[in-house]
């Protein structure tokens, strides 16, 4: 049943950057139905490779103020439990602490959320996914970092697989101390975040866009198998 393949895989050379390249990302020579052949590079051709652009605030102050108020009242959290802190999200989202009354709710996909909670330590493997999730989120977007691990490595300060400082890889709006922070501390974090958004200080997305090259360089330094597009939204 195997049909004739219409493409030919081009074996990558043994250079350093191809060390971790996965077979599905190899360049391939595709023969079109009209007989023409062309090269397809899955990593660059299937995704948008444009850099993100910073968004200027609305020129009318009142409008911007209103927008900020509205943003602060609808914090949609991406349900991505990156570390152990995510266990405290359960009580937060259920009746006892009921974060919904503060406009906080969980969303299953990055496209619908504007707050990413990095709940503690990030292993390199998760960091890669966290970055992709973060980049898929819509601006304006915010990052809340929980626990010691995101500030200075925490318990895993000497581990070979966890990052020590989150602010090197994505812009962080609010840090909440604790190992892990209790739901109340998380709520306090939300309050602080709301305050910052209302004050117009929630500029993480713009900061990320402005310093895009710096963040990318930091990320690529530790994610050795960067076999994904630089920017994929």
């Amino acid at each position: 049943m195997a049909e004739e393949k219409n493409y030919k895989i081009i074996q990558p050379d043994n250079s350093e950057e191809n060390k971790f390249l996965k077979p599905e990302n190899y360049k391939r020579e595709v023969t079109a139905p009209d007989g023409n052949t062309f090269i397809v590079d899955p990593l660059n051709d299937y995704f948008c490779d444009a850099k993100p652009q910073p968004h200027a605030p609305n020129t009318i102050k009142v409008v911007e103020k209103f927008l900020n108020w509205a943003r602060s009242q609808s914090i949609w959290v991406l349900g991505f439990g990156t570390g152990c802190g995510s266990i405290e999200i359960y009580p937060l989202m259920t009746p006892r602490f009921d974060a919904y009354r503060f406009g906080v709710q969980q969303r299953p996909t990055p496209r619908q959320s504007n707050l990413m909670i990095i709940s503690g330590y990030l292993s390199v493997k998760t960091l890669k996914r966290a970055i992709r999730s973060y980049e898929q989120m819509q601006s304006p977007k915010f990052v809340m970092a929980l626990g010691s691990c995101t500030i200075n490595g925490g318990m895993y300060w000497d581990s070979y697989n966890t990052i020590n400082r989150l602010d090197h890889y994505m812009p962080v709006d609010v840090y909440v101390a604790g190992c892990m922070p209790r739901p109340e501390a998380l709520l306090a974090g939300f309050m602080e975040l709301k305050k910052r958004i209302r004050e117009g200080k929630g500029e993480g997305a713009n900061q990320y866009a402005e310093n895009f090259d710096w963040y990318k360089a930091n990320q690529k330094k530790i994610i050795k198998d960067w076999n994904m597009p630089d920017y994929n939204w």
């Binding site: 009746p95 006892r96 602490f97 009921d98 009354r101 010691s148 995101t150 500030i151 200075n152 490595g153 925490g154 318990m155 300060w157 400082r165 602010d167 962080v172 709006d173 609010v174 840090y175 909440v176 101390a177 604790g178 190992c179 922070p181 209790r182 739901p183 109340e184 501390a185 709520l187 306090a188 974090g189 309050m191 602080e192 910052r196 200080k201």
Partner: protein, 591 residues
Amino acid sequence: MMNLKDILSPFSAWRNLLKEPVTIKDPLTERPGAPRYRGFHKNDIEKCIGCGTCETICENEAIDLVAVANVDTKNGDSGLRPLVDYGRCCWCALCVDVCTTGSLTMSNEYTWVSNDPEDFRYIPGVDKKEWDNNDLGWKKPDYTLIPTERMDMEEMEPSEREGTFLEIVRGYSRAQAEKEADRCTECGLCVATCPAHMDIPGYIRAVREGDMEEGLRLLYETNPLPEICGRVCTHRCEEVCAVGHSGDPLAIRWLKRYIADQVPFEEYKRILGITSIEENGKKVGIIGAGPSGLSAAYYLRIRGFEVTIYEAKSKGGGMTMYGIPKYRLPMNMLESEIGFLEEIGVKFVYETRVGEDISFDEIYKKHDAVFVGIGFEKPYKINIKGEEQKGALQAISFLDDINKGKKVDIGKKVAIVGGGNVAMDAARVARRLGAEVYMLYRRRVEDMPADSEEIHGAYEEGVQIIPQTIPVEIIGEGGKVKSIQYLMAEMVPDEKGGRPKPVPIEGSEQVLEIDTLIGAIGQEADYGFLPQEYLDKIETNRGRMLVDNNNKTTLDKVYAGGDAVNKTADAISAIADGHRAADAIERMLLV
């Protein structure tokens, strides 16, 4: 498999519709942490001694010790205070549980939000936080992670001690020593307090690991007389021991003694690596074979100096040989220590009193440097009437005679005047000779300068201490002491803030029948050996030679140490002096 009940049963959840909601209205203020909650740290700055045990146990290196304004470094307090990094802390509270003083605690506060990651560091107790006055939170619990009880050392029963000069304490067994050494937190507070700055945590670690050779090497780095110090040191290190804040301090002195006892003297040369000494051709003369002289001699000799010690008596050791009774320091210990020095090539010239048998001038000219470790030989007189009579002795000469093995007749009842270690020695020796001993001291028992264990030992052995007494007159009969008359004193606080002064109470005269009176109120140096031209150049203060940081006197190429220089007047300070002077002499002559 499915029935109507299965379809209807979930609807029972509607029962909850009318229930009171469980939601907490204002979780940010309504929910304090539990009374035991492990929240942010608090520290009682006054109580903390900066020992760093919290830093040692922290698996996250979350705690730094930093110098803090308003907290001074002093003996027993490093002046450092813990700084906690909440980018590392995991709230395990092990730091609280091991805190030796119990100063470090935790509040039940748990909320700290900031947008600046650099914020999350502070020094508890110094940087003001809103939870400083919060009484709830994790406290040091009622258990210990560091054993608090000292290993008891076997001692001779007090009742057996009369009539014998055998050593009282028996020394640790290996198991005991290792168990005692295990209690050490290796904080190092003791190091600075020790006059010789011995690496105490280091050699205790060696005991724990059973590496006696390493232990001995560490001892000899700063102290060439560990056998002596292991027995008679005033162990000021133990007073500042961090473990002592929550239990018994470590038996540092006994552990030192344990190391020294384990290694036979024949092995010393090999272990210390002094198999061959490269001579450097310089000569150093040392006057006095007391601890400071011996210490200087050792450190100079191993660096290749030609060292000659001039000693007036027939044996070396100074006060440790002649002043300390043998139940505290057996004679053979001293002799082997000195034998070891002889073995490595230190020349001893005994029975040569400088100023009489050899002139100071000659020594001064013959050597490239001179170290003076003459000690305090000349006892103070009590300066009361009747002191010249037979039966009125001086403690120093009394102890000297006993150690030399002379028979001294002290009769049945003996009074000792003084409250220092020498007085204690005299009293306990007199008890061993079978006399009834009374001790007259001007101040209260707690003011006594003697070590507490000496006082304790004296009590144990039946010495009767009569505090707050001022002798007035020694009453004699036929040129021999018969009784002593004294006044009771009351303690009057000193206006200048010094220690309270004893003031005699009028009309409180008492008379004590005695056969012998032993004076032990202190000694002074005897500079009789120095020719006037040198004496003029050596500045003294209250009978002590003035020296600089290198233990150099005001006279060129003359160094001094020991009791004749420093106020603390104990063996370990003398050893430190000798070491310091040896370093300075080396710098002066070789660099």
